[in-house]
């Protein structure tokens, strides 16, 4: 299940094992048979840590979804609520427990808060008069969840909103905690770099927490050489652009949640030979996407324009492998062939799945609407006409395209122009409110607070300088055989990744001027290692950097970092961590304040 976590440069399975151990320990605290009542949101992230079998070994006999009303009957001694610390969930729990008490049930109640206990929630349970009913109130610190061999996510959806809108730094505290856990398992990270206010905060907290450990020396040989902390608001542009890698497009179009995607079922009908095509399934087809799947690992970070060729190459290889059966003559050869069958079968169905997905995506990327949208995005990114009302956006509003798409474009224009002229901003706002409803005043205010949408305050627009110095736009990006990270957006090189790349070589000193134009401080800190833990590097051995995106990262940015890791002469391998995997749509949605945005 989790083998792919140990393929990478850093064995992230260690982290997963640590998390599993904590889970077992908690379960054993509640002696006897158990039922778990799940905050449904958590089943996804937990699925990355454990299977049902682990829970079953620890006497978990029943599992339910948290719902209002009465708990279902279950002949168990313990009822354990696995929940996020949210007030609305406390009210549901209180109702469950209250109903149970009326029945004079003898079952024991426990709460496991994920990822942290919350006084606020406990206070709420107290007000509801059920706090005393709980035998154990505990927290399960699931700060960094291993997602893939080189990827960790906190799955902390509201991190950007909390940091930049509400000025609540709780997510940063969790980030620092998570990084401490990581260092406990993988050694102290000797060098810390950062850019942005939040990065500064996290580094400060880490250094202070380290002092609290004073006396306990971390004796693990450091796996990471460098930690780079990056604020999302240093690079607001990148998530707004449409991702053009295979995985990025799957996420843009269908949304990837906890490593799974749900796809329209029509193209995945399973027809067996000899069976007439039965009625098509109506339930969406759910697929797991990670590097455990060979073909997916190969194609996911490619520009979508290069995926067709890769699939066709794979098809030839698989066909050839199946042809081998005609050459198998001796018993030994046949045996050999048969032993490979499962692998070949899997490769075949993997190819079938991705051919279907590529077809679905291609229908969209070849549409006029997609092309027009991309054209406008590229105009903005290259600085063309960013200071006037854009006709395309106006037209799309008049045609009532989805609001999030409109907001994404308007924000992009604002970011690319370092703020919009008041007249232009007012025009967009009026059009949006008239078309989609006045209540979006709240959303527009949030976008302004978050800096995604703003009036121009100075006549100076630094974007051309930044774009030029950092080479953010590359003409003739090579999509098939890329030689630069700009291939992930077919021309645009994500600012966040350019900063990462330049830090490794030649260092940030070369771009001081530009760094000053970007928001927040940039800094460097060193953490002392105990004597004897200094790495003796082999000739030609790569260094490892952990890049932490505070406020979210996109799949295309991850692809660009993987590209850098694979570049022969880069000398650097990257492991990626983030508060949340995002795309432009999910990001903007997290900043909306209307009822539909609150549904998850």
């Amino acid at each position: 299940m989790a083998a792919h976590l140990s393929y990478g440069r850093v064995n992230l399975n260690i982290l997963r094992e640590a998390a599993r151990k904590e889970l077992r320990e908690f379960l054993d605290k509640c002696a006897g048979s158990k039922a778990i009542v799940w905050d449904e949101y958590l089943t996804g992230p937990f699925g990355l840590i454990a299977q049902y079998s682990l829970l079953k070994e620890h006497e978990v006999e029943k599992m339910f979804t948290l719902k209002t009303g009465r708990l279902p009957s279950a002949d168990v001694k313990n009822i354990i609520f696995f929940v996020r610390p949210r007030l609305e969930l406390m009210d549901i729990i209180a109702e469950n427990v209250f109903n149970e008490d009326k029945l004079h049930s003898t079952r024991d109640f426990h709460i496991l808060f994920v990822p942290r206990r919350s006084m606020l929630c406990e206070q709420r349970l107290k007000e509801q008069g059920v706090l005393g009913s709980f035998i154990n109130i505990d927290e399960y610190i699931l700060d960094l969840i291993p997602y893939d061999g080189d990827l960790l996510s906190m799955e902390y959806e509201s991190a950007f909103r909390e940091c930049y809108l509400e000025n609540d730094q709780t997510s940063l505290y969790h980030t620092a905690k998570g990084l401490m856990t990581l260092q406990a398992l993988y050694g102290t990270i000797p060098q810390i770099y950062g850019k942005g206010e939040c990065a500064r905060h996290v580094a400060n907290m880490m250094l202070r927490m380290k002092r609290e450990f004073a006396g306990i020396q971390n004796q693990i040989l450091p796996v990471f050489d460098t930690l780079l902390l990056l604020d999302r608001n240093v690079d607001l542009l990148t998530p707004l652009a449409t991702q053009l890698t295979y995985e990025g497009l799957i996420d843009e179009i269908y949304g990837i949640t906890n490593g799974y995607v749900k796809l329209p079922p029509e193209k995945f009908a399973q027809k067996k030979q000899g069976e007439a095509s039965k009625d098509l399934p109506t339930e969406p087809k759910k697929l797991q996407l990670n590097s455990a799947e060979e073909l997916y690992a190969e194609i996911r970070d490619k520009n979508f324009n290069a995926v067709g060729a890769a699939l066709s190459k794979k098809a030839k290889i698989i066909s050839a492998a199946f042809e081998e059966r005609h050459n198998a003559k001796t018993v030994g050869e046949i045996k050999q062939f048969v032993s490979q069958l499962p692998h070949m079968q899997a490769a075949r169905s993997s190819l079938a799945n991705h051919t279907s997905i590529a077809e679905l995506i291609k229908d969209i990327t070849t549409s006029e609407a997609f092309f027009d949208n991309l054209t406008v995005e590229q105009e903005f990114m290259t600085g063309v006409d960013t200071d006037k009302v854009n006709t395309y956006i106006e037209d799309r509003i008049a045609q009532k395209d989805p609001l999030i798409k409109i907001l994404r474009l308007v924000c992009m224009q604002s970011v690319c122009n370092n703020g919009l002229k008041q007249k232009v901003l007012d025009h967009y706002k009026r059009e949006i409110l008239q078309t989609y409803g006045y209540e979006y005043i709240l959303t527009l205010n949030n976008l302004e607070k978050g800096g995604l949408l703003k009036p121009q305050t100075s006549s100076r627009n630094n974007n051309p300088t930044i774009r030029k110095t950092l080479k953010l736009w590359m003409e003739d990006a090579n999509e098939q055989n890329p030689n630069d990270i700009s291939y992930v957006y077919s021309g645009y090189a994500p600012l966040s990744i350019r900063l990462t790349q330049l830090l490794a070589r030649p260092g940030w000193r070369s771009i001081e001027e530009v760094l000053k134009m970007l928001p927040g401080p940039h800094f460097e800190e060193r953490q002392q290692l105990p004597a004897g833990l200094h790495k003796k590097r082999q000739q030609g051995e790569n260094r490892t950097t952990l890049v932490f995106f505070l406020g979210g990262v996109t799949y295309a940015e991850i692809a660009a970092l993987r590209f850098l890791s694979q570049m022969e002469d880069s000398g650097m391998e990257y492991v990626i961590a983030t508060t949340k995997l995002i795309n432009g749509a999910s990001w903007i949605k997290s900043l909306m304040d209307t009822p539909e945005a609150q549904m998850h």
């Binding site: 049902y52 979804t65 610390p85 007030l87 919350s118 067709g308 899997a346 003409e475």
Partner: protein, 487 residues
């Protein structure tokens, strides 16, 4: 609007290249063919090697799968209790299809990977348990003395989730030291806990006064209040701190939960006295006046509909009531049901446009869609010519004619209507493409005639219906000896 020149330029510059699959058509086809042609070998049960997944993609045994599974079993209990909402009947398709596939992950494991997996996930997990690393705890956690905790130690204990007594801090100075130490942790949970105790033990005025100089604590307090729904205090703080806009937006947000239109109207009326930014203020005023207008129109139209005497409501029964709809939707409604109302009337589209300063393009697109939906082609026509007060008959549009054709086509406009607008598309190539697409025969034929292209005209003859007027026209042209064909 972008000039034609600009448009042409950006379509042709290399920077804006099309994002297309180009030649990949064949590639995808190739891999599709390959998938089809490969022998479908019978599913073999390879035991441990193969991980089972259900159709929904959940590995069998994953947590989310199991939640459904065990809930289903529980729902089938014998006690006859009302069904638990999440209950899934045992014969539900997602459960029945459990064995429909294999997951790929296990099959792609190399040998090395399989070994790792063996210790990590083998059932029983004996090795994993031993090998699982321990996360060291900070030293301070190991000592647990009872005593007179300083604010600093109290905060530390809180961070570790240990019992503390905050009531001990009686004087204001101590309370504030406690608060400052909690802020120093950046742990929102601890900060909030301290704030909750301060809220209980200090008067509102004193607390607000102290928080005014402690921005971080203040922000946490504001979040706490808004999460716990204490809007009264929240509003007080905003006003005390002069953050009137925040106070206004906070209050305004409450209207979202008011469904009843009269109550919402009264609430919005109250909002007008709030101190929004000038710009938001005028938007809220518009929102209120829109709602009032919607209520008037709704009352009148509902009555008219019930009366059964107004033809339009019989022909196109209303599908929803209009209060709470956005402005442009309301405009569409008025264009649909009240297009010819005198301009002084509340429901007249022109009146709506005037009152809310709707932009020309928005009005135009909305009116066009609404009239096209009703197939009032004369109204559609008038939209384009109404501005020709200088005697021009040339049609003008604030929207590119391609888009106009698009809207008309979506509303099933007949060819005779469509072709007028296709003919007005500026770009020659796009125009011909649309003419072909929408079978505007006259346009195509005339274009070929004008370019003296006999060959294309002949080719087009095959595409028109046999015996149609278009075919006759083509034949006439082809037989016309006056035309000097270029080919």
């Amino acid at each position: 609007m972008k000039s034609r020149g600009d448009e042409e330029e950006y379509w042709n510059t290399s920077k804006f290249k099309a994002f297309t699959f180009d030649d990949d058509d064949d590639e995808l086809k190739e891999s599709k063919e390959a998938v089809k042609s490969l022998p479908q070998l019978s599913d073999q049960d390879d035991g441990d090697l193969v991980e089972k997944v259900s159709w929904s993609g959940e590995p069998v045994g994953s947590i989310s799968w199991s939640v459904r599974e065990t809930a289903a079993a529980a729902g089938g209990g014998t006690d006859g209790e009302p069904a638990f909402p999440s209950r899934i009947p045992a014969d539900a398709p997602n459960v029945a299809k459990v064995n429909s596939g294999y997951s790929l992950s296990s099959l792609f494991k190399g040998r090395k990977a399989a070994n790792v997996a063996a210790f990590a996930d083998a059932s029983g997990d004996p090795l994993g348990r031993i090998l699982a690393p321990e996360i060291p705890k900070p030293k301070s956690e190991k000592q647990d003395l009872i005593g007179d905790w300083s604010p600093q130690d109290t905060v530390k204990r809180m961070q570790q989730g240990k019992a503390v007594s905050l009531e001990r801090f009686r004087c204001l100075q101590d309370k504030m030291r406690l608060l400052d130490w909690s802020v120093g942790t950046h742990d929102g949970n601890v900060i909030t806990a301290v704030l909750i105790s301060l809220k209980k033990s200090l008067s509102k005025e004193v607390l607000i006064g102290e928080l005014a100089s402690r921005q971080t604590a203040l922000r946490h307090f504001l979040n706490y209040l808004s999460e716990s729904g204490d809007e009264a205090l929240l509003g007080d703080i905003y006003s005390a701190l002069g953050r009137t806009e925040d106070a206004a937006l906070l209050q305004y947000k409450r209207h979202l939960s008011i469904a009843d239109e009269e109550k919402r109207r009264d609430f919005l009326k109250g909002c007008l006295s709030l101190q929004f930014s000038a710009e938001d203020q005028s938007q809220v005023r518009d929102q209120l006046s829109l709602l009032e207008r919607q209520m008037v129109i709704e009352a009148a139209d509902r009555q008219a509909e019930r009366g059964g005497k107004v033809e339009i409501f019989q022909r196109f029964p209303r599908r929803a009531s209009i209060p709470h709809m956005p402005l442009i939707t309301t405009l569409y409604y008025c264009c649909f049901y009240h297009y010819d109302q005198p301009e002084g009337s509340f429901s007249s589209p022109l009146n709506v446009r005037q009152s809310f300063k709707i932009s020309e393009k928005q009005f135009f697109v909305t009116a066009l869609s609404a009239r096209a939906k009703q197939k009032s082609w004369s109204d559609v026509d008038a939209l384009f010519t109404s501005r020709s007060w200088l005697g021009f008959t040339r049609k003008k549009s604030p929207l590119a004619f391609q888009k106009v054709v698009d809207i008309l086509h979506r509303n099933a406009a007949p060819v005779r209507v469509l072709q007028d607008y296709v003919g007005l598309v500026d770009d020659a190539e796009a125009r011909m493409a649309l003419a072909h697409q929408h079978k505007c025969h006259d346009l195509v034929i005339n274009t070929y005639r004008d370019s003296k292209d006999r060959r294309l005209l002949l080719g087009y003859r095959g595409k028109v219906e046999a015996g149609s007027a278009a075919e006759r026209k083509i034949d006439e042209l082809l037989n016309d000896s006056q035309i000097r064909w270029k080919n």
